[in-house]
């Protein structure tokens, strides 16, 4: 035990004192925050650019349609010919010219209207101009049908079905995704951690092999102790780095956004899961007080303690499984270029877990795919965490599934670590051999 502790301590110190590790630790948050701020800034710049569209309205309709919108403002041309208007638009550097020809009714005008631009018009401008026309056109149509705008608004009103579980808990349709995002965040964190720090473990093993210190070390400690010490030490360094990242990124982001006066909401509108959630919420009328309150209630009711507990369990077991595979790979090869053939099969289940999670578990957290992948031990650390926010028991993940998932994970953990330790034990003393899977299989029997 004392030796294990010595090894953990050395591996930890060797890692955190490593220059590139230190640089990465402190540079990454700055880079990340810089990128976020840049994106936010660019988005704002993009939004702030106003394009001017000249309107040559020769009809008797659409007189009041053209109020300045978010991206387009309008200039009225009067009493000049289309050719003259085109010339002056080019001369004044306007974005485009909207021509509404004279016609008998609004429908005909709209049908024959043209937007002239230098190049193909940008979608946002086109949409805005279309919307302007469409609103008026609709009003004309309604009037023709004898429907008042008030009546129309009434017809247009949406509807949300109320939902509740059999036990009477109110729920909300955005909540499945919302919960999955919380779990997905945890799952994603696990995957990143495994890939980054598993790689560190592997490189550290290769370094011991190439520097030829390995035989000196294992004449003092058991290879298994060395392997575990390495994995634990490296992951502690990883946890340290992660904490620094999270704390400093949070701090920097807050400071940056405050200083630059950027609305964090801007970022939420970007693509990705945040955007999807946002849409869900706004389309189902977040403005509705009751819905908003429900969302908040749900969030508060999220089993945070439970989530955190299982996050730790799945994290520790999942990470140990994968990093001991990484350690075995490191032991089997002589240099990093030989690792490729072994790495792919390791990363595959991780990627699979993330994709299955995002595409299947989000929409149906308790469907057959979700259940299968949350029990299969190589994907369960990620997929189960995406399901767990909906709770355990009758309304969430059934007890037996959780038990099956955990016990399979535990068994796999023992099995894999045992196998990896065997390969590790033989591999670290093998020099100059390019290993094949067949060779590794033979080592298992030594």
């Amino acid at each position: 035990m004392a030796k294990l502790w010595l090894i953990i301590r050395r591996e930890y110190l060797a890692k955190v004192r490593n220059k590139s590790f230190v640089v990465m630790t402190f540079l990454s948050p700055i880079l990340l925050v810089g990128m976020v701020v840049l994106i936010a800034y660019l988005t704002q710049v993009n939004d702030n650019e106003k394009r001017v569209v000249a309107v040559l309205n020769q009809s008797a309709f659409f007189g009041n349609s053209f109020t300045p919108g978010t991206g387009v403002s309008f200039v009225d041309f009067k009493g000049i010919s289309l050719e003259a208007a085109k010339d002056s638009v080019t001369g004044m550097g306007f974005y485009g010219l909207l021509h509404l020809p004279p016609a008998g009714d609004a429908e005909a005008v709209a049908r024959e209207a043209f937007l002239y631009t230098r190049e193909v018009p940008s979608t946002s401008v086109l949409t805005e101009v279309e919307d302007a026309l469409e609103d008026d056109l609709r009003a004309y149509r309604l009037e023709a049908m004898g429907v008042t705008p008030g009546e129309y608004a009434q017809v247009r009103q949406g509807y949300d079905l109320q939902t509740a579980t059999f036990r009477g808990e109110r729920s909300h349709k955005g909540i499945n995704e919302f919960k999955a995002i919380v779990g997905g965040g945890f799952g994603y964190l696990i995957m990143m951690f495994i890939i980054i720090y598993g790689g560190f473990v592997m490189r550290s093993v290769i370094e011991e092999k190439t520097s030829r210190i390995i035989e000196v070390i294992i004449s003092s400690v058991k290879p298994f102790q060395l392997m575990m010490g390495k994995i634990i030490g490296t992951s502690l360094a990883g946890v340290t780095q992660f904490l620094i990242w999270i704390l400093s990124a949070g701090l920097l982001l807050t400071v940056a956004l405050l200083f630059m006066d950027i609305d964090p909401g801007v970022l939420m509108q970007g693509p990705g899961m945040g955007g999807a959630l946002e849409q869900q919420l706004s389309s189902s009328a977040l403005a509705d007080d009751q819905t908003a309150r429900l969302m908040l209630e749900e969030f508060v009711q999220l089993p945070m303690g439970l989530l955190l507990f299982f996050f730790l369990v799945y994290f520790v077991l999942g990470y140990l499984i994968y990093s001991s595979i990484y350690a075995a790979i490191g032991a089997a090869v002589d240099n990093e270029t030989d690792t490729q053939q072994f790495i792919l099969p390791v990363i595959l289940p991780l990627m699979l877990a993330i994709y299955v999670g995002f595409f299947s578990v989000f929409s149906n957290p308790h469907g057959p795919i979700a259940v299968a992948f949350s029990i299969f031990p190589l994907t369960s650390p990620i997929v189960m965490l995406m399901r767990l926010p909906s709770g355990i028991g009758p309304t969430g993940v059934p007890y037996w599934e959780l038990a099956a998932s955990l016990s399979l994970l535990l068994l796999t953990f023992i099995g894999i670590v045992w196998l990896a330790a065997k390969i590790y034990r033989i591999g670290i003393l093998m020099y100059g051999k390019k290993p094949t899977y067949k060779e590794l299989y033979k080592w298992l029997k030594y």
Binding site: K3, I7, E207, S211, R212, V216, S220, L429
Partner: protein, 311 residues
């Protein structure tokens, strides 16, 4: 006296390959034991088993009369042939770490390190990183780390490779000193002249089997062939070795015309020795007469070749 280490009937297979085949040997207490053998004979496997790095399929090892176990790790010091250090770690810190892995407390390790660093005059390396050191310098650190915890059994695998002659001599003196202080030493090497110099006992492994073992002096005696090196100035210069060759088996004869001295090898049975000496001294001037004793190298080569011939 009970041997410090006793290996009995040790066998080890790697898949279908037999690395060790029923090897038995004793390392006498306080001796320097030369473990010899061609490349790939199984020496390293045997050494790794003694260090509990790998485990035998059958057979047993006894250290001080007890079956070898994890508690003995601290009593063995091992300098492997494939050796290195963490490149980016500082010398002192690294030596402390390795010493602590051998079970020394931090304070003890520091004290011992100071002693050895002073002794080898390398104290100023303490805060250097290993990558700044030359190969020979790193070897010295490795040597120190091997002997630091004062093990009763030391195992050196090619300890002099990578050292210049001066440092090799320095390390050799340290090994002899440790031996004089009571440490038993297993010494694995291809350099036969150092075997000759250092070892009292040898064991020769060939193709996974121990084919020769015992006291080096006894083995040499056994390998004598009744050959004698002679330098002789015959009284009758004209006749040369002629009369001698009629009576005795003479080989490898050369003649130094300036001195008038013949240099040759005589093969004699024990009973013929007195007569031959008599003849040589009456018929000429005997300048030198000594029995030819095989070197460790010759024994090594002959034994291996004989084994190969026998299949």
């Amino acid at each position: 006296m009970e041997p410090v280490l006793s290996v009995q009937d040790l066998s080890k297979q790697f898949g279908t390959y037999t690395a060790l085949d029923r090897v038995s040997l004793d390392i006498p207490r306080g001796s320097i034991f030369g473990l010899l053998g061609p490349n790939g004979a199984g020496k390293t496997t045997l050494i790794r088993i003694i260090n509990q790095i790998t485990y035998p399929d059958s057979g047993s090892i006894w250290l001080d009369g007890q079956p070898l176990g994890p508690e003995h790790i601290a009593q063995i010091g091992y300098l492997p042939e494939e050796r290195g250090l963490y490149k980016s770690m500082k010398v002192g810190e690294q030596a402390l770490y390795l010493a602590q892995l051998k079970g020394l407390s931090r304070a003890d390790a520091r004290e011992q390190l100071r002693y050895w660093f002073d002794k080898l005059d390398i104290g100023h390396w303490w805060n250097k990183k290993v990558q700044e050191l030359s190969k020979g310098m790193a070897q010295k650190i490795q040597f120190v780390v091997t002997v630091l915890h004062r093990p009763k059994l030391l195992i050196f695998d090619e300890p002099f490779s990578g050292f210049d002659p001066i440092n090799a001599a320095l390390i050799k003196d340290q090994i002899l000193e440790l031996n004089a202080q009571g440490a038993s030493i297993i010494f694995s090497t291809h350099r036969m002249e150092s075997v000759e110099e250092l070892c009292q006992h040898i064991g020769l492994i060939h193709r996974s089997r121990l084919i020769l073992k015992g006291r080096l002096s006894a083995i040499k005696k056994e390998y004598r062939q009744g050959k004698y090196k002679v330098q002789w100035e015959p009284a009758n210069r004209e006749a040369g070795l002629g009369p001698l060759q009629e009576a005795l088996e003479v080989s490898a004869a050369t003649f130094d015309a300036e001195e008038g001295i013949w240099d040759f090898t005589l093969k004699l049975g024990d009973a013929d020795k007195a007569a031959a000496l008599q003849f040589l001294s009456t018929h000429g001037n005997l300048a030198a007469f000594s029995e030819w004793i095989p070197t460790a190298e010759e024994i090594f080569i002959r034994t291996v070749q004989k084994q190969e011939a026998n299949g």
